[in-house]
Symmetry: C2
Subunit: 197 residues, 2 copies
């Protein structure tokens, strides 16, 4: 039973690691976005709204933020009051919520995304491009299996169809077609984010 | 800038995936431990207490649970009242909290761990042993880098020294020296967990 016990140890270790990594990343995000005068939650609402081209369902936001739809609704209220987003009711489906990032929201989102991208690039910098690909594949397999395990009422296809990680153009959706040069990418270059064609 | 933008896309994708995977795993855990009449938080307090041989600091629990030390203290209070754990003050350091899992706690912990191990083995089952090793290495590198980024007041060595994922004997710490046969490992075998030498 030695091999079995070794294999179980590895599985347990992975389980803990998956928790720990996200936890420490959240602590980093709080630091990164705090410096940009945004909470991580507000940043995520802005980024997801932007990435989704305004087609955000409260359930999607709630899932992303790990909060109840009710508390997400209050968060959205506060962000609307702060002028960061606007709420639009869909003409086709009155229950469907559409959110749009305002220009004030855009002005907060962009430097925060540059700072966030700089952070995540630093954290992942020891990994080669191939290792990052492998990492993404392993995470995707795990995610897919976990969704199957959950046997969500929402079909897997629907969840994955709406899944922003499947967008091949995350960067251009966030930055409106411009590639962003972060401090990490620029090395010892200047501090200001530069939009490049 | 094409390669740069592709590389940034991959990094962004990994960032989202790290969040998503942990989020969906938490949803699964709520389902798994809910069936065992434990909340995920209570399960984690029991498991961490057991793994730490009773040397649990409130700060460690708070970090694991992503909660404030204050709310962890209330959670511990409720679990003490429910007879799942006992609180012991250290003789050397009055501020240090020691927790011990009671026999009632052990009786709740063991079947929940079997169910949890079954779940995580199912979720990770498409990955080979080598892929799991690679996955753990990639997660560890990411965790280590994120801790460095955070530049925690608590030294990295201290955090990692206290890190239960570094224990080579997670299984035997949880199960007191016995290897557990889960439904996943047993295939179509019986339902009762069997202790094996």
């Amino acid at each position: 039973m030695k091999a079995n016990s070794q294999s179980q140890n590895l599985v347990l270790k992975l389980w803990f690691l998956l928790h720990q990594v996200r936890d420490v990343i959240i602590s980093c995000e709080d630091q990164v976005f705090g410096k940009q005068k945004l909470t991580t939650e507000r940043y995520l609402v802005l980024a997801i709204t932007k990435l989704s081209d305004g087609h955000v369902r409260p359930a999607d936001l709630a899932r992303w933020l790990g909060r109840s739809p009710n508390s997400v609704s209050m968060l959205v209220d506060r962000m609307v009051k702060a002028g960061l987003i606007r709420r639009i009711r869909s003409r086709d489906d009155r229950r469907a919520l559409r959110l749009v990032v305002t220009s004030k929201g855009e002005n907060a989102l962009e430097p925060a995304t540059v700072a966030g991208l700089d952070f995540i690039q630093k954290v992942l910098s020891p990994l080669s491009y191939e290792e990052k690909h492998t990492f993404a594949r392993l995470l995707e397999t795990t995610k897919h299996q976990a969704f199957q395990y959950l046997n969500h009422r929402v079909g897997i296809e629907e969840v994955e169809g709406n899944d922003i990680t499947n967008y091949p153009d995350l960067m251009s959706r966030l930055f409106g077609g411009v590639s962003i040069s972060t401090p990490e990418v620029r090395g010892r270059g200047g501090r200001k984010a530069k939009a490049l064609r």
